[in-house]
Symmetry: C2
Subunit: 230 residues, 2 copies
DNA sequence: CTAACTAAACTGACCAGTCAGTTCAAATAG
DNA sequence: CTATTTGAACTGACTGGTCAGTTTAGTTAG
């Protein structure tokens, strides 16, 4: 294990972006380069030398900024999930107050409520856009997510829970307004939608580039329409 | 490239199982061992030595029976897909006539017709059983399927098409009997169901072992219920 | 001034693929 | 029935190369 990088690096004093601009730029370049390479050939199939070269940085810099290859990948996963979470939250379906905020159910007088199904559709659309923009992240996710045991088991458990919580909240909103099939387990439903987003997005990228964003969204939304009882 | 094994090995004269029993047993052991290991740690993360040791066979035997590590994995994929196809076809939803026929509603002249939705449900159930029985195969599939470029690109394209054809036929049967939402692209729908089977099955295995087979099937079936118009 | 970074050499482990040699069951010969 | 041969199946030490991670002495930029 490397101890030098971890020790010398300024302790990131619990605050946010107090890092020098140069470091942030370097880390960003490393994220982009490794996202691309690892998405294409897998975590084990890419060397640290390659990542450094692709980022236009020396190998030592990788170890200066990250303690190890595994550490770089763990932070890469967190980075990607933060982006995805921001996209999903932007539709206002999440738990925290997003853009198109929805007040309580009983007429609280402050504006019209958006249809939760439409919000869901918007969220799935955001997910599809994310998959199209960061296909390498999606590939990394599905490649490593179900590995057991894996170096990133704990990382995945945390990140997965964060994402499922957002989807769960959106489903909750639908269930609060529409009559739904209560025999369908909420957890399984979240998983099915979550997984369908990744798989449909990746499949479009890899095998069916001619399929439109809307076709993909519609296919996934069939799950929700089947959840709402007739 | 290894030439010896390929040349010396009897030319497998287009027939079926003319292979000596020893070889078949060895190949079977190698399939099982490599399925397990590769599913856990990924194709690049497993060494040929490990596979040989796990199969209780020497490394040379691997190269005698398969030309290379990549070749072994390609044949492993084919092996797994053949098993899955057999399971799916057993529900009678495929192109060929299968076993468990379900008495249906519109009585046609030639015996009872199965309800295509029930057949679909049976098929998804078979898929879930397969994922539970061969989780390592599922992991291998999702790990390597969307890699581009990959050593098994062509293999995946062929196998994927074979599986999607079976799902497509099942959807076709439903659309022939029920009114469906024609605005939903058939291809995207196939992909969504296909992907959901893998992801829900794997997620159950990895994160939610307490979820039942039926819960999983029900969640995936929501897609079909949403496809059938109300 | 110092944190961030560079460049290049180095270590030690690991690994895909090779190949000369061994085993043994079945075929053939005596 | 026994001896000999054959060759497919298998063995495992070995080779050439790769790679994660380390180290060091110096350079750059804020």
């Amino acid at each position: 294990m490397n101890t030098r990088g971890m020790n010398i690096r300024p302790a990131e004093p619990a605050g946010k972006e107090l890092r020098p601009a140069r470091t942030n730029a370097t880390r960003q370049k490393l994220f982009e380069a490794s996202m691309e390479l690892i998405g294409e050939r897998g975590a084990a199939g890419v060397t640290v030398d390659e990542i450094a070269a692709a980022a236009g940085v020396s190998k030592g810099t990788v170890y200066y900024n990250f303690g190890s290859k595994a550490d770089l990948i763990a932070q890469l996963l967190r980075h990607g999930v933060d982006i995805l979470k921001a996209r999903l939250a932007s539709t206002g379906t999440g738990t925290s107050a997003g853009a198109g905020m929805v007040p309580g159910e009983a007429a609280s007088g402050s504006g019209p409520r958006p249809d939760p199904l439409l919000a869901m559709e918007a969220m799935i659309g955001q997910a599809m856009d994310f998959m199209a923009e960061y296909p390498s992240f999606a590939r990394l996710w599905v490649s490593e997510n179900w590995r057991t045991p894996s170096e990133w088991q704990d990382t995945f458990a945390v990140l997965r829970a964060e994402l499922l919580e957002i989807i769960g909240a959106a489903i909750e909103s639908v269930a609060a307004v529409y009559p739904v099939d209560e025999t369908i387990s909420r957890g399984s439903l979240e998983t099915a939608i979550f997984g369908a987003c990744f798989v449909v997005g990746l499949d479009r990228q890899t095998y069916n580039p001619e399929r439109t964003r809307n076709q993909s969204v519609a296919a996934i939304m069939a799950i929700m329409r089947g959840y709402v009882v007739k």
